[in-house]
Symmetry: C3
Amino acid sequence: MFIRNCWYVAAWQEELTSQPLARTILAEPIVLYRTASGQVSALEDRCVHRSLPLSMGRVCGEHLVCAYHGLSYDHAGRCVHIPAQDVIPKNAQIRRYPVVEKDNVIWIWMGDSTRADETSVPDYPWHSDPGWAHKKSYRHIAAYYELIHDNLIDLSHVGWVHEKTIGGTPEAHSRAEVKVVRSEDQVSVRRWMRDSVPPPTYVKAVDFKGNIDRWMEIRFRPGLVSIYVGANEAGKGVDEDHYRNTFGARIFNGVTPETEHSTHYFWTAAHNFKVDQPAATEALFKEVYATFEEDKMVLESQHSRMRDLPGAPTIDLISDAGGNQARRLVKEKIEEELRHVPVPA
Amino acid sequence: MFIRNCWYVAAWQEELTSQPLARTILAEPIVLYRTASGQVSALEDRCVHRSLPLSMGRVCGEHLVCAYHGLSYDHAGRCVHIPAQDVIPKNAQIRRYPVVEKDNVIWIWMGDSTRADETSVPDYPWHSDPGWAHKKSYRHIAAYYELIHDNLIDLSHVGWVHEKTIGGTPEAHSRAEVKVVRSEDQVSVRRWMRDSVPPPTYVKAVDFKGNIDRWMEIRFRPGLVSIYVGANEAGKGVDEDHYRNTFGARIFNGVTPETEHSTHYFWTAAHNFKVDQPAATEALFKEVYATFEEDKMVLESQHSRMRDLPGAPTIDLISDAGGNQARRLVKEKIEEELRHVPVPA
Amino acid sequence: MFIRNCWYVAAWQEELTSQPLARTILAEPIVLYRTASGQVSALEDRCVHRSLPLSMGRVCGEHLVCAYHGLSYDHAGRCVHIPAQDVIPKNAQIRRYPVVEKDNVIWIWMGDSTRADETSVPDYPWHSDPGWAHKKSYRHIAAYYELIHDNLIDLSHVGWVHEKTIGGTPEAHSRAEVKVVRSEDQVSVRRWMRDSVPPPTYVKAVDFKGNIDRWMEIRFRPGLVSIYVGANEAGKGVDEDHYRNTFGARIFNGVTPETEHSTHYFWTAAHNFKVDQPAATEALFKEVYATFEEDKMVLESQHSRMRDLPGAPTIDLISDAGGNQARRLVKEKIEEELRHVPVPA
């Protein structure tokens, strides 16, 4: 169902304070918190004594203290203090999860902790690059996470679902030139739409007067779908050499399964134009927000109908190539884990 | 659980517009819509591509278009257009359901479509007969559909549940003369209450001064329970010859299972007195509406208790004769279908 | 799961009127009512005819009458009248439950009625003793009942959960001297905290100036946990001889399982100081109420987390001695019933 040996977005950096945060990830209840020294930790959200969620407790110095009988836990999930009891049972231990704080994101590793390689945490420099401005959001989506992958990877839906925002001409989206490349750990999809009508969002952003050449790069890795889109006046070219210095926006899409039926969706919208104008950041954010609300409605309805009619036959379209590659990658990783990975301690 | 080869009420005629309507019938999600030419269609409410409910889409001309990637479907449930893709897969097909528009009602056939005989759609001329005026309603009932049959067929409950409206004397209802006749496809129940106190609703309608002779005819067919009630001054007789030209009301009761635990209830109240006075129609409607709200509360509480205590022993009363005949008829039809009917395509 | 041969609190005395009361106990829906003669009865909440809850009906004289078709039941659960039908079927009978009205409490026996010994109903004289004043409450707790036992029996949580009300110093609670005594039918726990900081509630009640000696007596029987707490100025002693005439409060805790996942919690707070001052009763009540709201939040979160992670390993602390004895007692009683008790008629 889920890839475990993978870095997922657990939270935005600023969500982590001395007030513990409860979040379910891959169907496991987790408490996230930041201690007095600033260190971020993630533990099983359950006191080993009587199962109260530790997220109801409080941080004291470097420890997390249970709200029921005052048991204290360290970063490793070991119970290190029991009020009025000198001997701490050896099995007074809960699971801890590796976490990394990077690029304003808290990343968590849900699998075998001995394989948690911090150098494999995705880079996302556009959250701190001065050439880009961004704004964050979080949405809870009542849908299976792979439906979100499909949605982000196959942008042929843009003209239908988002005709009022980023759409443009439906058929132009459907007829876009597309190139899908699968490597071991990721799927990249590139799309080009030459000489097409600019969508409302783009016109608002940079005031295009005539038709445009559009390009979209989607990079899927389990846990993160990075999208880089942009446009130029029609005829000016959509090769990398041409578009690197023109109007562009980057969407960070942290896709973290909560349960089999729901997903945490962490996203940011960054742009490389008018970066010193908060109103421009806000305007882009609002457009993307509206777009994602449209997607949320589609995804949740789709998920709900699939639950109503499990196993109903479906067909694939040509435009599903990228999404299907992503599904294959996820399936392979899960199967590999089931073969090789020991049960986490 | 359900009879499939049967015409059920799917909707009121005026509910069907170019805006698709989602409705679950016999636990199957269905989309109902009217195309530009006025034709009504019913399809499986699921795009064959990625399972979005088609009811979120829109009608374009004679086609229904999915809101996610723009696939178009015709009346037969065939996908006839995929944007930017010339070849349509052969299995791009969803189920369609026969529908008939008649007497202001949209009837649907849920079983084997080769057996859907339009001449077997029930007649209900009183929705258009100028000698009668009527008003419509729809209620969602969180109860198993056969509980509604019981309720409509055994009117001995009227004195207890509806004492404030159509009741009259409880014991008079319980002691009514009753005649039950079962044929292959229906059960008819006739009741006569001679020289009884007129209930408040009747007095409001036609201002009876003294006691009355009442009669009630209930005709049960799977999907539709037709009720014809009326009264005359006491002593004037309750034979057909006498009552055809006196005060009468007809209740149309479309009983369409939604799921095992819920039912669509379509009803109209028609009357043959003061037919040119909308206030009389409204007054009767209000009385019947109040009555059915009382029934709804009973039915839902009953259903809920039966789910709490499945298999608890029960007893039958003499007055259950008609309801039990209806249950037997439903059981026979279901068993017959399980024996003979092929799985619908 | 539940002890059946045991008196549970079904309701407060004043809840029982001629208006029937519906309450689920040990997962069985029950109707409680008081007839014209003042007698209290408890029956299965289901008409034997068509399963409508009898709690929707009405009391007529000594009978309970179903709201659907008017069947009447006596105190023994026998159907004694069917409108318009002379013969009453022999199996027109529903289950009745022994009930006893005592000390303002309606007690119910859920097991084998031949073993319902009214002399074994718990005494609680402080609901009528003029030396004590009290106020009642009822709370619905979405938690397994044994979690409430644990909470009431092991008061080492008081310093953590209730620091703002009855807490005082957390470590003092954890280091309290504790004596646990198990007999066949009950577990008693006594705790003493000498020379400790008075908690806010106690200061409000009797204005202690310095440290206090506190004592707490908890007596657990299935269905009822009686708590007697009090305090004296530090050094004045906490032996029975000393404290009987000082500041004391008694908490009645009727713990009645509703389902496997919820519990009826009937409690009163009584006090032996300022018994003629309603404001004192109210002030104590408010403090205890606030305390129990804190417990409710803990209990429900704990229960919910245990459902999320069934079978997760736990540890016991020294302070669990009393609670664990109570769990053992409950387990023994249930096992004994499964061995010896015939299925109730």
